[in-house]
Symmetry: C3
Subunit: 174 residues, 3 copies
């Protein structure tokens, strides 16, 4: 009887443990997100550099699988909603780089710090709503581990007139 109880408790703990441990690669499939082969950097730099447990990821734009970018200024060429979609696309691009760099998304311990830059008009004040496109995706994929410190700011000009650029710091498991 006593050993049966122990087995029961063990199974219970294991189930809870499994429930808590989301498989992030599987989560991507559930969200119907397709990663793609990251494009080569357009200049003399690399996509990410690891130092200790921190992975510093270069500024990424809203690349699409076909190699083109979402371009134009939010507040003029793009609405806030279209800006949100562009920021979400930056997120998919960065997840593609992350997957390519660390192999297994389950090595992500925490999305630590995000700098979200919106190519916008001078009077535009809704950068946070735009960068939510990126942040919402991180939380959808990584849950609590996806919640990050963030700045969302308005830029005068970005490379190739891309609409959004994001750089970030990710903490990896040992």
């Amino acid at each position: 009887m006593r050993s049966l109880s122990l087995i029961f408790i063990y199974v219970l703990i294991a189930s809870v443990s499994i429930a808590q441990k989301t498989d992030f690669d599987k989560r991507l499939k559930e969200l119907n997100i397709q990663l793609f082969e990251p494009a080569k950097p357009i200049a003399n730099y690399v996509k990410a550099v690891r130092s200790g447990n921190l992975l510093f990821i270069a500024g990424h734009g809203p690349s699409k699988a076909d190699g083109t970018y979402i371009t134009g200024k939010v507040g003029k060429d793009l609405t806030v909603e279209q800006g949100y979609d562009a920021a979400r696309q930056v997120g998919i691009t960065i997840l593609s780089t992350l997957k390519s760099e660390i192999g297994d998304l389950n090595k992500v311990k925490r999305i630590v710090k995000v700098l979200g830059m919106v190519n916008c008009t001078e009077g535009f004040v809704d950068q946070p709503k735009v960068i939510n496109g990126f942040s919402d995706l991180m939380v959808a994929v990584f849950g609590e581990k996806g919640k990050h410190a963030r700045s969302a700011v308005g830029m005068y000009a970005l490379p190739m007139n891309i609409s959004v650029e994001v750089e970030l710091v990710v903490e990896l498991e040992n």
Copy 2:
């Protein structure tokens, strides 16, 4: 006699040691700075994330205790002096977040790195004088530990048209 000398030396060392160890919470009171309950983030992110001994603090604006912000462009709506005051207000906001995150300001080992962003006109060139409002406060509160590496730059647009935004990295004691 000899033990008396030893006691004297001991007291001397202890005094110097106390003099060197400033209580940062007490220092705030001496400076007559009132912290306040930080507002909730206005979007899907958190105020700060710790990784190892580094605390990455999200971009903060010049919030006031009543929940409003200092807004407008420095060089047009605000003078350099008013910009300085806005940057100082960002500092008070960030100290409020820091206190709320780590409980005891004496856990601060060093203000490491600051990115100070000034919402300004195109011809404006005095971003360093504006961001000094933030930096001077950090040094007033934390002394040598408050001295940081910094960039002070001019932005095209900031959320809600706030005048100054600062993000930073703080090193904490073990």
Copy 3:
């Protein structure tokens, strides 16, 4: 015979080892780069702060040895090529600070993360080509260790109207 072989192998290993271990200070001389005494910070901050093995370096502009700066907007006052030269000059300025901070450039383990900010016109889209002036120099001096994650973005206004500003994170040897 046998000891002769051993000596031969030893010399071979030593040669390969020397070939791999570039002396970065010597490399500067080969590149004919003259460092200079860094100017004092123009406001209440320091040039660099170390936390663990990471050195956070403050935003630097294109200072020249005579204390003046390269100023003006790329896309109007400066061509892309002149912007490239300004970014290279920022690199020399930062190497001067780095040398002054750590004494020996051979302590550099990796240039980790670079934020390159270009003072430019609204329609300007070649920030990556400009910031390559900085990145190319880092790779010329440090080789593989000089390759970094990077963002290159367009700014509305920079202090004293400098053309380029760069801040970075460097990993140091223990």
